[in-house]
């Protein structure tokens, strides 16, 4: 073990973990990456394209190399960054993207072939012979590509989603974030402080002496004060991953990822945080410097090396070197030296840079050795090269502020000459204030002040006065950076480690005229790795800028998109999976139907009884045939509550309905019902239903189940937006009333037994009558004499909570009349037999004319859709609804078949229509169907062919009236 002194690990708690099956020990406070380094493991992964051996380069969420598969079985989690995986006892991780072992990856052959795998090479080859792409090349590419693997097991963990509201959201709990949260919380504002780490402090935890007192003491003091502030919510392990409109931020809290098992807790929670102001205190990410073979395990960011030493008490090697173009690299050398790590040399191209206690070379690193881990570096100074032994190299090319969230609204970052980096520019999310590094403040002292001031300014906007807290003295050094974007050379120098994009690739993109920054990115895949270019974009841009001779600012930037760091799809779903995916609406007779053994079916959000099987029935068809015949010969009962019901009331209710239905409604007499058809304003048929006039100023309108919400919205649009002058009020009562259809020759007899002294005779309550009444001894009810089946039928509505009781009563007292419950299947058969249009016919593409209702569109009055229904194309429509019956009664009728003249070619041009709905009709004794057919009226009695090439079916059908049952309509009027 290469543990150093100090650090923020708990040495009293040892944790056992495995990597690639080998067992190791670490401590509480470790990440997987720090614990592996402590166990002298430098090789942690393989690169995407060349399968080069890779070690960890960073200590935070930007890590592009050290990606592992964490946990096992259904819990397997690919591409987990070892740098953010908190160590827990029993953690099991495996390396990924390899064939064979991590040390001997067969796909490393790609590295030998790398001269052929230049930027964009795959666009230029693999084209011949044509079939080889899909059969040979592409499968091979797909197997080699990808990173970690996902099992096909369902994610077994639980997730949650929640909403939070505050005055100020502070993103990042480092120096700037802490002073921002402190300032705002002391002033009494509602504050949320979110930090992705499991410990507050950010870079303060990674430095040896950033403050005039131990940083952990200062942080502990603040945390103690935080604990006593009820207006502040501190969210550790919480990544703010996206900025959305109007102060809404997406965040993910990793509730139990740091535990061996979540137990009864959720794994993660998705938060939607709505805030009046936000402070972006997300710090900065160090960038490396491309030089020859700069990707070996052991080469890492200098600041990460320092973080590992100071926070986790590990060094990747006993003897290390530093390559830096700024003073920060020297800080790493000093800190490691103080911890007893040998500093082989600090290589710094700046003139006269030196530090005490180690060798400084004014030159460049120009090469490395070590197949699976760094062993030597080549240093070139003044034209002379030497090889220096070292097990690790810390590289610092400067720091790029983490401005991703500031550019989520497509605001362009601005180049900061002093820092040689992009900082947050204008056009960021409204109310988001950058602080610390994102605002160009690079030292600890600047960060502390800028956080507090940003909070003060944010609260001042909200009318809250905040005072600046006393701040400790802090490090306040400039970086003194001299830009160095890459070390020229002939060997490959990596810019994007994960995707294996080298300086050569960028040069080739330049040579091939793929120069705009988006072309560069897409041609080379620069910045398209799992870090979204955090460790590579600016460097790559700078190399391109050098080639074109333009400034970096004018070369441009690609746009950062959410999420800031990758987010598990499970938590974005918030746990609403399986049957909880969408709400489930149950009808008022659901419990009763369940007790009868009904089979249910999803109808939009509703669960409806599909059919009611009885003992001895072996197929659903047997059940449905029985239900149909029972209805046609006795009486059937069906829950039709799901149909939309809208109460329309007011002095102008009739006028209003006249304008929304294509047919007249104002003239409807009180106590009567009329069928109504609504058009869309574009003239096509939209929805149908019944309109009942219960009183002079009260109508009850029904809609189809599917359109219940849409039609209500539309009617409110008409009422509020088109004709606010009308005295009319609307309310949806779909859920308020349980409505049952009672259909069949015995329907009147049955209902007579439940109504309270109400005369149901044909004379006093004829077809299409309606009334308010009471049933079962005082229960208020509505009764409509309407029929969807062609039988004598009623629909009876009672308050929803009586639905179960009413259907139970009706079935009970109607036993001698053959009272039979039926479900949606029988409902479908009954309506097809009667030729009533439903969703398959009213599919939004049909006209009133096609439905045979062209003459219903009144020309005497205006109504929604009337004008545009007279457009040429709608008037010229020749397809009409017909009935269809097989010439050979044993043949099937299949919905979705297309209709052709007998002997005609079967192609798009000869297509005459299609079958919309079909079923077996026990009444007819064969399959039947409804369909739209060109000039269908004129083809009555003719034979046509129903072609279903999808299932190799051809059936000869006869065109008949769509009314298979009682075409004269006598039964409904009986």
């Amino acid at each position: 073990m290469t543990r150093l002194s100090g650090g923020l690990i708990d040495r009293s708690r040892s944790l056992t973990f495995t990597f690639d099956g080998k067992t190791y020990q670490g401590h509480a406070g470790d990440t997987l990456a720090s614990a592996l380094l402590a166990n002298d493991v430098r090789l942690m992964g393989r690169s995407f394209k060349y399968h080069r051996p890779r070690g960890v380069i960073a200590s935070g969420s930007e890590e592009p190399n050290a990606l592992v598969e964490l946990r096992g079985g259904a819990w397997q989690e690919p591409n987990t960054r070892a740098t953010v995986a908190e160590l827990f006892d029993g953690l099991a991780a495996r390396s990924q993207n390899k064939v064979g072992s991590l040390g001997f990856d067969l796909l490393a052959v790609n590295d030998l072939l790398s001269p052929f795998f230049s930027a964009g090479f795959y666009y230029k080859t693999f084209m011949w012979p044509r079939a080889f792409w899909e059969k040979l090349y592409e499968p091979a590419i797909r197997r080699a590509a990808g990173l970690g693997s996902l099992t096909h097991e369902p994610d077994p963990d639980a997730y949650d989603a929640g909403f939070l509201h505050c005055d100020l959201l502070v993103i990042g709990g480092g120096a700037a974030g802490l002073t921002a949260a402190l300032t705002a919380a002391r002033a009494g504002a509602q504050v949320i402080l979110a930090d992705e780490d499991f410990r507050l402090g950010g870079r303060l935890l990674a430095e040896s002496a950033p403050l005039d007192r131990p940083a952990t003491d200062w942080i502990a003091g603040i945390e103690a004060e935080f604990a006593g502030l009820p207006n502040l919510r501190v969210m550790r392990r919480t990544t703010v991953w996206g900025a959305f409109d109007h102060g809404i931020y997406g965040a993910v809290e990793r509730v139990s990822d740091h535990l061996a098992s979540p137990g009864k807790r959720v794994r993660q929670t998705l938060w939607r945080i709505t805030t009046k102001r936000a402070i972006l205190a997300s710090g900065a990410t160090e960038r490396h410097i491309p030089f020859a073979d700069n990707d070996r395990p052991g080469v890492m960011l200098s600041g990460a090396m320092r973080a590992y030493a100071n926070r986790w008490a590990v060094s990747p090697a006993k003897r290390v070197a530093i390559f830096t173009n700024n003073d920060d690299g020297h800080r790493t050398a000093r800190d490691l030296l103080a911890k007893g790590v040998e500093i082989a040399a600090v290589i710094d191209p700046r003139p006269a840079a030196s530090g005490a206690g180690y060798r400084t070379i004014q030159g460049h690193v120009t090469g490395t050795k070590g197949r699976l881990g760094l062993s030597r570096i080549e240093v070139t100074a003044n034209g002379r090269s030497e090889w220096i032994d070292c097990g690790a190299l810390g590289v610092s090319g400067g720091w790029n502020p983490n401005i991703q969230i500031a550019s989520h609204h497509r605001g362009r970052p601005v180049w900061h000459d002093g820092l040689q980096a992009f900082v947050a520019g204008p056009g960021g999310p409204v109310g988001l204030i950058p602080a610390g590094a994102t605002s160009g403040q690079s030292s600890t002292a600047q960060a502390l002040v800028s956080g507090a001031k940003a909070a003060q300014a944010a609260l001042a906007d909200l009318g809250i006065t905040a005072t600046l807290p006393d701040l400790p003295q802090a490090e306040d050094q400039a970086l003194n950076l001299k830009p160095l974007w890459h070390v020229p050379g002939k060997s490959r120098a990596w810019v994007d480690f994960q995707n294996d994009v080298t300086v050569k690739d960028i040069k080739l993109a330049y040579q091939e005229n793929m120069r705009p920054v988006e072309h560069l990115k897409r041609w080379t895949t620069l910045g398209m790795a799992t870090d979204q270019g955090k460790t590579s974009n600016v460097t790559g841009l700078a190399v391109m800028a050098e080639l074109t001779g333009q400034s970096i600012q004018s070369t441009g930037t690609t746009i950062f998109r959410p999420p800031y760091t990758p987010v598990a799809l499970s938590v974005l779903g918030g746990g609403d999976t399986g049957t909880h995916f969408r709400p489930r609406r149950l009808t008022p007779t659901h419990d009763w139907a369940s007790r009868q053994g009904a089979v249910f079916v999803e109808v939009g959000q509703w669960m409806r009884a599909q059919y009611f099987p009885r003992a001895g029935e072996t197929t659903w068809r047997q059940t449905v045939d029985r239900e149909v015949l029972a209805t046609r010969t006795g009486v059937g009962i069906c829950d039709v509550t799901t149909l939309g019901k809208i109460d329309v009331q007011g002095a102008d209710a009739g006028e209003f309905l006249d304008r929304v239905y294509c047919n007249a409604m104002k003239s409807l007499k009180v106590g009567m019902v009329r069928y109504g058809l609504m058009l869309r304003e574009d003239g096509f048929a939209w929805d149908d239903g019944t309109c009942a006039r219960l009183a002079e100023t009260q109508y009850v309108v029904t809609t189809t189940t599917a359109n219940a919400g849409t039609i209500y919205r539309h009617l409110e649009f008409c009422r509020q937006c088109l004709w606010p002058e009308l005295d009319v009020q609307l309310i949806s009562t779909t859920d308020a009333w349980a409505q049952l259809s009672v259909a069949g020759p015995n329907a009147r007899k049955l209902l007579q037994r439940v109504v309270d002294g109400f005369d149901l005779s044909n004379e006093s309550f004829p077809f299409m009558a309606c009334a308010n009444l009471t049933v079962c001894g005082g229960l208020r009810a509505r009764l409509f004499r309407i029929s969807f089946s062609g039988e004598l039928a009623y629909e009876i509505a009672v308050p929803a909570r009586y639905g179960n009781a009413l259907i139970e009563r009706l079935i009970d007292i109607g036993a001698d009349l053959g009272a039979t419950p039926y479900g949606t299947e029988t409902l479908g058969v009954l309506r097809i037999e009667k030729g009533h249009a439903a969703g398959n016919e009213l599919n939004g593409q049909t006209t009133a004319q096609m439905l045979g209702m062209g003459r219903m569109v009144s020309t005497k009055k205006d109504s929604i859709g009337a004008v545009l229904s007279r457009r040429e194309g709608l008037v010229a429509e020749r397809r009409v609804l017909v009935g269809l019956q097989p010439v050979d009664a044993s043949q099937p009728v299949v919905a979705g078949s297309h209709l052709f003249a007998e002997g005609a070619a079967q192609d798009t041009a000869s297509d005459q229509g299609w079958i919309t709905s079909a079923c077996y009709s026990p009444h007819v004794g064969s399959a039947i169907g409804l369909g739209y057919l060109d000039n269908g009226d004129a083809q009555l009695g003719e034979q046509i062919v129903a072609a279903n090439p999808l299932q190799a079916q051809q059936v000869v059908l006869r065109v008949v009236s769509p009314h298979f049952v009682d075409p004269e309509g006598g039964r409904v009027r009986d």
Binding site: Y123, K504, T530, P566
Partner: protein, 416 residues
Amino acid sequence: MRYSGFRVIKEALTGHKGWKPIWRNPEPQPAYDYVIVGGGGHGLATAYYLATTFRQARIAVLEKGWLGSGNIGRNTTIIRSNYLLPGNEPFYEFSMKLWENLEQEFNFNAMVSQRGILNLIHTDAQRDAYRRRGNAMILAGADAELLDREQVRAMYPWLNFDNARFPIKGGLVQRRAGTARHDGVAWGYARGADLAGVDLIQNCEVTGFRIENGTLKGVETSRGYIGAKKVGVAVAGSSGRVMAQAGMRLPIESHVLQAFVSEGLKPFIDGVITFGAGHFYVSQSDKGGLVFGGDIDGYNSYAQRGNMAVIEDVAQGGMALMPAIGRARLLRIWGGIMDMSMDGSPIIDRTPIQGLYLNAGWCYGGFKATPASGYAFAHLLATDRPHDTARAYRLDRFERGYPIDEKGMGATPNLH
């Protein structure tokens, strides 16, 4: 320069010194016979077919930003010809046939991969509708297969068949459908057009049309006036903005569609799956990312970004259908501007202004149409007659009452 495996090997052995610029950066000429506004997929394809198949010359493509920066630069790469209506299906099948020979034709590997598309069925009514559609596809010369639940299970046994809010009852498959590398398509057409003499002019924004007596004379641009005999506008997403400069209002609204890609994964999903009941569709790229999406956000927007409601909705759909993806991570969300038309179908037509032609209204389905759209628009520009498969895409179809409304949602763009 011809691309080939042999050339790749030769260049690799000689240090890649010989690769030539993939296209030129020409200065705009004072005038052209044809100016195509928009260097996205459709614009580039139009120029390519004008210069090659239709043997026209003096052609320029004017692009406001960089070539391929239209919606071809940000989509979910699906190609398919599984439409229902006779106005659409033959066109998309024509496009599919062009895809099948595209790469050999323009000598660029656009990674056309016929991995198949599966549309899941959850209700009997949906099965009826898909049967009608599948038959319409076959009648138009395309391929389609109707699968039952067990056949779907054989393809993707790990979908959520039993614990689903909307149980899977079957599927409609088009095996010739699949994916293509979107940028590769743009670059293939661009390079092909450049080789055929088309001037591809980047960073050249059209700021106005010069129209005299109802006849177009040329375009004002950020790089000066450019005369043109015919101008074809192919700027989906910005059609309203650009055509407003010619004084036209369009039957189009601009909406934002978000799309999603996960971190790279080893092969997980072979083909394309759509889950209509859950507003979710997914495929896996050759690089390993799951590429997925759902509904548009639903409000007019030119902001190229969306909001959390749809992100959560899409993730819920994905988790409901395939809870195994839960442990994968979302890497990147982006938003594109869609030309949402009043019937969900596109427009390829002349305009009332002589010499000005319009290609627009692709909703979120323009990528798959790229070859046929370019071909049909080039046909219209070169011959002044619509291509046979694009006859229905007239601008006046709304006025005359011939909408091509696949979903039956009427003139409500955000519902198509």
